[in-house]
């Protein structure tokens, strides 16, 4: 054998053994191999890093899923059931089916219904305006229209409608909840999307008594309680002069909508109403009930 090769063999061999010894001790203690399933799960996640799942980012969520060994209570709102199912399949777990949610803006104090009384100038920030004053219409609960929610949305799913001055949520919404956190007035709520996107909700968060509420806004909930009475499913709760419809109980029968004297209850994506008296027999209602 060539001398050079011999030397090479010797010195590299020594070195190799040396590093083996060092690495043995290193490995003994703290070398970790990240659970490869984290990568798998991470790949399946939508990489929106929006935090809607309650974790700092998609990867943290993936870690949590793998560590948890169960999908209970874990949900990626962006990917929805589809993604959760795929993750479940990949990990051999059961996915919980979550009702898809969507952000709902509970204020109808448009320029028309709640006329502007004062003009605001200053930082374009609802949070600041909320600390400063009651709002341009005078309603201390209503939307300030400066779009903190819009800024917070990573999905461009919410925008301010110029004609009403109110935010509108569109179908891109993945229910990440960022806007809910951003709104200083707690106007936005995540509610089930509903079958065929049909939803009924009280579009107001004003807790004032009827009089004052009405004074600032024509379509405020005045806490009269008529809807509570008319609801056959005990789905409506009245607290602090404000009605709230529990989506778990609501059957979308739409009785309350008609009953509300201020039109504060909104229905979305329903077919036009049939003449009065027939609605109890409407086929949609039937399917909803079953």
């Amino acid at each position: 054998m060539d001398q050079t090769v011999l030397f090479a063999l010797l010195s590299l061999g020594t070195l190799g053994t040396g590093s083996a010894v060092i690495l043995y001790f290193v490995a003994q203690r703290f070398k970790v191999i990240e659970d490869p399933r984290i990568d798998v799960v991470n790949e399946l996640l939508p990489a929106a890093n929006c935090g809607g799942c309650g974790y700092a980012g998609c990867r943290n969520f993936a870690e949590a899923i793998v560590k948890n060994e169960s999908l209970e209570g874990l949900n990626c709102p962006v990917g929805g059931n589809e993604v959760m199912q795929r993750i479940a399949a990949a990990l051999g777990l059961e996915a919980e089916m979550a009702d898809p949610l969507i952000a709902v803006v509970r204020c109808s104090g448009s320029h028309e219904h709640a006329p502007q009384k004062v003009k605001y100038e200053g930082a374009s920030s609802c949070a600041f305006a909320h600390n400063l004053y009651a709002g341009e219409s005078g309603c201390p609960f209503g939307c300030l229209g400066l779009g903190d929610c819009v800024v917070s949305c990573d999905f461009d799913a919410i925008y301010i409608d110029g004609s009403t001055g109110l935010p509108v949520v569109d179908i891109r919404c993945v229910a990440c909840g960022a806007c809910v956190k951003a709104c200083p007035r707690g106007i936005i709520e995540l509610r089930p999307k509903g079958k065929k996107d049909r939803r009924i909700y009280v579009s107001c968060v004003n807790e004032e008594k009827g009089g004052p509420a009405r004074k600032n806004c024509a379509v405020a909930c005045i806490g009269c309680g008529k809807c509570v009475k008319v609801c056959a499913f005990d789905a409506i709760r009245l607290e602090n002069n404000l009605a709230w419809i529990d989506p778990k109980k609501c059957t979308l029968c739409r009785k309350c909508v008609a009953e509300c004297p201020t039109d504060a209850i909104h229905e979305l994506n329903f077919p036009p109403r049939k003449p009065r008296g027939e609605e109890a027999a409407a086929p949609e209602t039937q399917t909803q009930l079953s």
Binding site: V118, K119, E121, G122, A123, L132
Partner: protein, 333 residues
């Protein structure tokens, strides 16, 4: 009574506006512009027009078509960049190169960072240094000033800048005394009748503008004073050590765009620090780096590089040298 307006306090606003300040700077540069036209003739006008026009145009195009945001070319900042860029090039620079300079200044130096107020580096200097390194020949061929009144407009002859003469001479091993015959005297450098960029020739015109900016409080004294002071100190020490090899402080101050740099470029708001103490350090640092480059570096003048380097340190200075906080000096009794 109309609708009431509501907003947080304060409910009144001072006189200063961006436009007011920016056009104030432009006004302060007018004397130097006039002198440059006097010395370099129509060429100076050509260079200034192309430079300012190109800066405005590129800013407009980028804001409108690339960033698709509001267009704010009227705020005056691009005009300043344009004028300063033209002040930093020789008057015979081909227009193509000038366009590249403007594109680099505005496109790379300013808009890539998001535009006014967000850039780290002085845009005009980014453009200038980019050109200097890219086109060393064209950027260092200096026409000799020939007052239009005296000669009319002819093809200019070229010649070196005072600092160029100095650096070359010293490299050849000549002493300052040998060189003094070639170097312009102080009066000439003060008035501007020597080779150089448009804006580095006449110290007096620049000083008039600087005084105007100081009086109108467009700029504060901190950066210029520290810059000036450190240059004088640094060059003074070396001059005292060996006056045959090191030029005197006044020579350094009056040549190589030092005045332009000190008062118009080191003071750029966006790229200079915020607190007075940080401004002093910034100015002093720029002065020292300028002198290091001038004395030991390859380039005869170092103002542009020094300011750019200090620009990079500004975030650290801002972070480390805070304004004196109320209640900090005197500990609780």
């Amino acid at each position: 009574m109309k609708q009431l307006t509501i907003s947080g306090s304060p409910h009144v606003h001072g006189q200063d506006t961006i436009r007011g300040l920016m056009y104030g700077v432009v006004l302060a540069m007018v004397p130097a512009m006039l002198v440059s036209v006097y010395f370099f003739g129509l060429d100076a006008v050509r260079v200034m027009l192309i430079s300012v026009g190109a800066c405005l145009l590129f800013e407009f195009l980028i804001q409108k078509y690339l960033l698709k945001g509001p267009v704010s070319i009227t705020d005056g900042s691009a005009v300043i960049t344009g004028i300063l860029l033209s002040f930093n090039v020789p008057s015979n620079l081909p227009w193509g190169i000038l366009l590249i300079g403007a594109l680099v200044a505005i496109g790379i130096g300013k808009m890539s960072f998001g535009g006014l107020g967000r850039n780290i580096f002085n845009p005009a200097l980014v453009g200038r240094v980019f050109l200097l390194i890219s086109f060393p020949v064209q950027m260092t061929t200096w026409p000799i000033p020939r007052p239009i009144v005296a000669e009319g407009i002819t093809d200019a002859i070229t010649g070196p800048t005072p600092l160029g003469i100095l650096k070359e001479g010293l490299r050849k091993g000549e002493s300052l005394q040998d060189l003094s015959s070639q170097l312009p005297d102080y009066l000439t450098t003060l008035m501007g009748n020597h080779g150089g960029c448009l804006g580095e020739v006449s110290a007096i015109a620049l000083l008039i503008g600087a005084a105007y900016m100081l009086v109108r409080r467009i700029i504060t004294w901190h950066i210029p004073a520290a810059y000036l002071g450190s240059v004088v100190l640094f060059s003074g020490i070396f001059w005292l050590i060996d006056p045959t090899y090191y030029a005197d402080p006044l020579f350094h101050l009056l040549t190589g765009g030092m005045i332009l740099g000190i008062f118009f470029m080191a003071t750029d708001y966006t790229t200079s620090p915020m607190s007075p103490s940080a401004q002093l350090v910034y100015g002093a640092g720029a002065g020292i780096i300028t002198m290091i480059i001038r004395i030991w570096g390859a380039y005869p003048e170092g103002v542009s590089f020094a300011i750019l380097i200090m620009n990079a340190v500004v975030p650290l200075l801002d972070r480390g040298l805070k304004p004196r906080r109320f209640g900090e000096a005197i500990k609780a009794q």
